[in-house]
């Protein structure tokens, strides 16, 4: 999945501080946008997070182990269909998954087209490298599995709020302490993004002209150092606030999920799709 760099590049203009501050703001916007998406009225948004987590995990496993390209393609188009009824547009999927996965996995898969021995389909002009049927199939499997698995994973993340996703993980016996750590990380990353943005704005308001590369590095390390100190101070305060409300070193969480008919239907649907996929290729 495409993730945000804190320093924005490309067409964006401005000095290092402008771009860094803009990158931080963009990262926050990105997270808030994803959060808004999880609140839209769509099919996946209406499902119990535990059903979604289990169903998506199951479909990813099927996509990884399936040995038929047609089944793989069907699973991929099922993901696209689920995205459509969950108000996740294809452009978002392309931007956040498909292009990135194609670029990354495509580079890895490309040599297989030429290196896997088998029936030669044609030879590349000039280089005369043979493109084999088995090589193309091998590359298509790698690419198809990656695209399908990443699309399902993105759908899960985009249609489920992070807190609900964490709670759903509990149903699958992920240790509570890990879930608490993930939750705290998600909670405080926003606080520190805001602090970092304020620090950069304060610095920017006192600067005129561009910074030399050496000064940029110095600024970046100084900012990181101050943030680290603040993070340490804040973690102490947060711990005190937890202790004050009865925390004794053993975190406890409350589940408030309830299975409804739609959720049971989704469970049945996921099992049916997985069974059909395995039966079809057999």
């Amino acid at each position: 999945m495409a993730e945000q760099s804190f320093v924005r590049h490309g067409r964006h203009r401005g000095n290092f501080l402008d771009r860094l501050a803009d990158g931080l703001a963009h990262a926050v916007d990105h997270a808030l946008e994803a959060d808004d998406l999880s609140r839209r009225d769509g099919l996946l948004q209406r499902l119990d997070p535990r059903v979604k987590l289990g169903g998506v995990f199951g479909l990813i496993l099927v996509a990884v182990f399936v040995k038929s390209l047609a089944v793989l393609a069907a699973l991929f188009w099922l993901a696209v269909g689920l995205a459509a009824v969950s108000r996740v547009g294809p452009w978002r999927l392309a931007r956040q998954v498909w292009i990135g996965v194609l670029a990354f996995t495509g580079l890895i898969a490309l040599p297989a087209v030429f290196l896997v021995p088998g029936d030669v389909l044609f030879n590349l002009p000039v280089l005369s490298w043979p493109v084999t049927l088995q090589g193309v199939r091998s590359a298509a499997f790698l690419l198809g599995r990656s695209e399908t698995a990443a699309t399902y994973a993105l759908l899960l993340v985009l249609t489920t709020s992070w807190p609900h996703l964490l709670k759903a993980m509990r149903a699958f016996r992920v240790p509570t302490v890990l879930i608490v750590i993930f939750g705290l990380t998600h909670r405080y990353v926003f606080v520190f993004l805001r602090v970092a943005t304020q620090m950069l704005e304060a610095r920017r308001s006192r600067l005129v002209g561009p910074l030399a590369p050496r000064d940029r590095r110095r600024l970046a390390t100084a900012t990181a150092g101050v943030l680290l100190t603040r993070a340490f101070d804040m973690s102490t305060e947060v711990h005190l606030a937890m202790v004050s409300r009865g925390y004794r070193g053993e975190p406890r969480l409350l589940d408030e999920f309830r299975m409804r008919p739609l959720d049971w239907a989704a469970v049945a649907g996921s099992i049916a799709v997985a069974a059909m996929a395995l039966w079809w290729q057999a």
């Binding site: 808030l32 959060d35 992070w162 807190p163 939750g183 004794r248 406890r252 969480l253 409350l254």
Partner: protein, 283 residues
Amino acid sequence: MTSEHGPPGTSTIFDVIDVHYAYHDTPALTGLSLRIERGERIVLLGANGSGKSTLLRLLDGLYFPSRGRIEAFAQALDEEHFHHDETAFAFRRRVGFVFQNSDVQLFNPTVFDEIAFGPLQLGWPKSQIRTRVAAILDEFSIDHLKDRPPHRLSGGEKKRVALASVLAIDPEVLLLDEPTAALDPKSASALIDFLVTCRGSGRTVITATHDLDIVEDIADRCIVMEAGRVIASGTPHEILMDVPLLTRAGLSHVHLHLHGATAAHSHHHLHHDHHASAGGHHD
């Protein structure tokens, strides 16, 4: 004004006796003594660095005195007290603390989890927790926020959720550190309204602040602190009328300003409704 010490009564909640506390080499409390009775609404007044926040943390059993002694509910409030789950939970059940920085206090992924946190840690049955959380969400009119993550709340909403999360366990004693700091007037007013309603409820409320405007509404007794010790105690009226005391405590100041005309002059500012009559005396 009253002196602080005599023999403790049966209604004494906190008895703080000659307490010292320091952050590394920097002293924060220097021989502080005071007594707080059940049902009192106390305001701790003092300038920044006077030791108000440190005192609240000691009263909540988060810090422990380096010298001196604190008794809470007629038991010594020391580290030994918190070694056992039973005594620790019993204390946490009775005392709630609203921190100054709401971001510190709201560490859960959603508002619902935040309010459920205290009862969960104290081992309440889950059905009772659900009922209690629903009641608190309704009481504070924050039901619409229950699935929201704290980073998406405004400052006023954060403070309301922080207060709601502490009150979820219905503590006998409520400690508040600068509750109106950085709040807009409407949010501050809502918070003050709540503190006003605590009068006669039997709940002991101890508020640290340097906002003199709210003192008469939220306090039955004021304790003025300076450099880590109590320098005065009395009713809000007695304290607010004593300009030399407030000046000494760093709560009154003199600065230049204009009164309609162009001539600037200076006089004491208490930033309090009654400051003209309470001795906004002109220099």
